[in-house]
């Protein structure tokens, strides 16, 4: 049984069919690169996995359970985290609250009033998470909107990793990063694999994809064109699939 299985995923926006029956399998602990031209449907496909978009048809199973009709919250519970291309952070909320958004730990206030957000615990655990990623953030209590692009990226990653996921989807995580920061993201992906966390990495930088991934999947106009083991292919071949020049 594979960790994630997609079969026949279709999705349209109005008259435009973006996904045309996608099949994809990801094993536990595997790192899969998903590449393709702009507009190929990569982000859309990933959002059908995280539950932000519903599918028109097709089936998604995760860890043996069918999750096709679950909402994004239930899928996070199941162990799917996604780092969105636009990061999906709440700019006016502070770093710690962003990391715990949607999963705030609560306690009883004065021992009676229920559902009191345990801010002290949020701050402490968020700080620990940020530290373990080895990044400097001026303070855990400043609004995320005041941080640099790279720092915001770190917050998005921290949010994805705080709840022990089984699968992390990263949509262009390195696009806005400096070289040194890119290296640390790639190192993080390797570290996650050692812990048995599967990753789907979307990136335009084939270099990064080849460095980090076991397998490369090419998406073109809403179809999976090819699915290649890294050690049986090279960048030239992948590029030829992306641009539709393959024999």
């Amino acid at each position: 049984m594979s960790l994630l299985e997609l079969s026949g995923i279709e999705r349209s926006f109005g008259p435009v069919q973006v996904l045309r029956g996608v099949d994809l399998v990801v094993e536990a602990g595997e790192v899969v690169g998903l590449v393709g031209d702009n507009g190929a449907g990569k982000s859309t496909l990933m959002k059908t996995i995280s539950g932000v978009y519903a599918t028109d048809s097709g089936q998604i199973t995760f860890d043996g359970d069918e999750i096709t009709d679950l909402d994004p919250g239930s899928r996070r519970e199941a162990g799917i985290e996604m780092i969105y291309q636009d990061l999906a952070l709440a700019p006016q909320q502070d770093v710690a609250n962003n990391i715990f958004l949607g999963r705030e730990p609560t306690k009883r206030f004065l021992g009676i009033l229920p559902a009191f957000v345990d801010k002290a615990r949020i701050d402490a655990e968020a700080q620990r998470m940020i530290d373990s990623l080895g990044v400097q953030i001026p303070s855990i209590q400043i609004p995320v909107g005041m941080l640099s692009g790279g720092q915001q990226q770190t917050i998005a990653i921290a949010r994805a990793l705080t709840f022990k996921p089984k699968l992390v989807i990263m949509d262009e995580p390195t696009a806005a990063l400096a070289v040194r920061e890119v290296e640390s993201v790639l190192r993080l992906i390797r570290q996650m694999r050692e812990e048995g966390i599967a990753t789907i990495l979307i990136s335009h930088r084939l270099n990064d994809v080849f460095k980090a991934c076991d397998r490369v999947v090419v998406l073109r106009r809403g179809n999976v064109i090819t699915d290649l083991k890294k050690d049986r292919t090279d960048m030239a071949e992948v590029v030829s699939y992306i641009v539709d020049a393959h024999e």
Binding site: A90, Q93, L101, G102
Partner: protein, 323 residues
């Protein structure tokens, strides 16, 4: 103190405005026979708080909706509907006294729930939905009451508006209690965190698993409920189910929320700030009353304050981005 203000998102500026305004009003207000400024008499200060309490409760409703990047223009009309609904149950239909409470709160919450339902399911902008409800609720209030005030409420209800336990008017206790609970909900519960996140970035809220529609539905219902509470207090204060109650109060409520530091575009909201905002509006109205400024000019003054507050906020936001 500063840390507390920061944590509760209360702006130092709004406190300063409140103080400055109070000083100006005290200086400009007429002097009583015994040589005291009218503005500063204990009874006048109570009047301010009493008046602020009604639209202050409304402003708390506005705060919930606006911090989630929504808007509710129907609050004043729903207050009127709630006032009439409660009074007619008890006076016209002769139900027991507590039906005035049930009727007002239920009418308010129901109107809010309809707003929320149409906003989330009908994909009609909140601005239009609640503008429509402004007309519907007012019309309904006039129909139920046949266009006339409904007088003669039982003593239990009048207690809620006119009594002064320990010398403090009951509506002030109600306002304080509503504010306390609301502060707890908005600042310290997951519901409150989700509200601010929804106003900040809807995609972020959805992606982290927050049920965005359910959240909105709840927020508009809460706003309606606040209008219901305010309607009840209004009825009790003037001993009338008044179909014209709360006319133009949405202007006061939204202005109070905005000058209290709630972000018109969502993502930031503070109940304590809104209370200060409501007091600012109360002081402004009261001062202008004492100086015998006509009501027409007061409307203009409040409208101007609203626009100026948002304008200043925009300048400030631009300054932050430029940093």
């Amino acid at each position: 103190m500063l840390r507390f203000l920061e944590r509760t998102h209360v702006r130092v500026e709004s406190l300063a405005v409140l103080a400055a305004l109070a000083i100006v009003m005290a200086i400009l207000s007429p002097v009583t026979g015994s040589g005291v400024r009218v503005f500063l008499t204990a009874s006048n200060l109570f009047n301010i708080i009493l008046a602020s309490a009604t639209f202050g409760i409304l402003a708390i409703g506005a705060t919930f909706v606006i911090s989630a990047a929504g808007i509710d223009l129907s609050l004043g009309s729903v207050l009127g509907l709630a006032s009439v609904a409660g009074a007619s149950l008890v006076v016209t239909l002769e139900f027991p006294w507590y039906f005035a409470i049930i009727g007002s709160l239920a009418a308010g919450a129901a109107a809010g729930a309809v707003n929320g339902f149409v906003v989330t399911r009908g994909a009609v902008p909140a601005f239009i939905v609640t503008l429509g409800m402004l007309g519907i609720a007012r019309g309904l209030a006039l129909i139920i009451s046949d266009g006339r005030g409904i007088y003669g409420l039982p003593a239990e209800i009048l207690f809620l508006g006119q009594a002064r336990p320990w010398g403090v008017p009951t509506p002030v206790f109600i306002f304080a209690a509503v504010a306390l609970v609301s502060h707890y909900v908005l600042a310290h519960t997951p519901f409150g965190h989700h509200t601010l996140a929804l106003g900040d970035n809807e995609d972020s809220a959805r992606a982290t698993g927050i049920n965005v529609n359910r959240q909105r539905m709840a927020l508009y219902t809460i706003a309606g409920l606040m209008a219901g509470i305010a309607g009840l207090v209004f009825t009790a204060r003037v001993n009338t189910g008044d179909p014209t109650a709360g006319l133009n109060y949405e202007l006061l409520a939204i202005t109070a929320a905005i000058i209290g530091g709630t972000n018109l575009f969502g993502g930031r909201g503070s109940i304590l700030g809104t209370m200060i905002g409501a007091l600012i509006m109360g002081v402004l109205q009261n001062g202008l009353n004492l100086m015998a400024v006509q009501a027409y000019y007061q409307q203009m003054a409040i409208g101007t304050v609203l626009i100026a507050a948002v304008w200043l906020d925009q300048i400030r936001a631009r300054g932050r981005r430029a940093q």
